[in-house]
């Protein structure tokens, strides 16, 4: 069932990336593949993930940050950025 729009008028987009300095073998494989396709000059590729959340109106950025700290990101290896709209 689709969520009731009146209750989910807020969206958060969470970007999760491996921290700088943490080797990203998947990004490295993508970089190799781009080179194989003839794209020159790709110095570095980092692969992350984007998590989109539909939230009840009034959900605070602090709550989303708590979601990131508790589950969405592993802050030992990952950093995150929150976009609210």
């Amino acid at each position: 069932m689709l969520p009731d729009k009146s209750e989910t008028i807020m969206k958060a987009r969470v970007h999760v990336m491996l921290k700088d300095g943490v080797l990203d073998p998947q990004g490295e494989a993508v970089r190799h593949a781009l080179g194989g396709l003839g794209f020159g000059g790709v110095e570095k590729v980092r692969q992350g993930k984007v998590i989109e959340l539909d939230l009840a109106d009034g959900t605070s950025e602090d709550t989303v940050r708590e979601m990131c700290e508790k589950l969405l990101a592993n802050t030992v290896i990952e950093s995150y950025r929150i976009e609210l709209s």
Binding site: L18, V22, K70, I77
Partner: protein, 222 residues
């Protein structure tokens, strides 16, 4: 002694682990991830290998936030013993009971083969049946076994003699060849290789058997 083996949706080494504990003389109870208590009188909790919750989000992340894991954490914080193997090791790092994290193998491939490990310490109930420096052959089967921790954490693990096992030939890019580590009180062990898959002659190897034997004898005497 009594052992509990936690079962998550997607666990696939739970019965192997229970069998290894039983063969060593332990009484074993299986515990479902939605359970909110451990059976009373449990000495050791086993977190088995597998693909809990389909490895969604990150390996072990959703399992680490399941109801039973709050209890496993409390058990460990009371000084209880916890053994996490493969996905179980990933769960233990996600709960924060062990430091560091496990990333995709450096070579990107899922690796399933028996590898040589070097025993790093014999000072734990898990490793007292081995000699420091002894080489043992234990199977690995993982896609995300590349152990990563900061230089400070690795220095601390080394200084406190908490590196239980190292890969003799690093298969996955793990920092400092680390295959398994102990908690500060030496009662929680997380390791990527599968000792429960080398605990019976029919497995093709028995180098993991000493781990379950030493756990059983140490905890029976406790």
């Amino acid at each position: 002694m009594r052992a509990a083996v936690v079962v998550f949706p997607g666990s696939n080494c739970d019965r192997d682990l229970a069998m290894a504990f039983r063969e060593a003389g332990c009484q074993v109870e299986m515990v479902w991830h939605k359970d909110t208590t451990l059976p009373s009188g449990i000495d050791i909790v086993g977190i088995p290998g597998g693909f809990s919750f389909g490895d969604y989000l990150r390996c072990g992340a959703i399992a680490a936030n399941s109801p039973i894991c709050a209890e496993v954490k409390a058990h460990a914080e009371r000084g209880g013993f916890v053994l996490g193997i493969c996905n179980g090791f990933q769960v233990l790092t996600e709960t924060g009971l062990l430091p560091g994290a496990l990333l995709r193998n450096a070579g990107l491939k899922f690796i399933c083969r028996t590898v040589p490990l070097t025993v790093g310490t014999s000072d734990s109930v898990y490793t007292s049946g081995y000699q420091v420096g002894q080489q043992i052959d234990i199977p690995i089967a993982h896609h995300d076994g590349n152990y990563i921790a900061s230089d400070d954490v690795v220095a601390q693990l080394t200084a406190e003699d908490r590196i239980a096992f190292r890969y003799a030939e690093n298969p996955n890019g793990s920092t400092a060849d680390i295959a398994g580590i102990l908690s500060g009180n030496r009662r929680v062990l997380g390791m990527m290789p599968h000792p429960e898959r080398a605990a019976d002659a029919k497995h093709g190897g028995t180098d993991g058997k000493a781990m379950f034997a030493s756990i059983a004898s140490a905890l029976a005497a406790a």
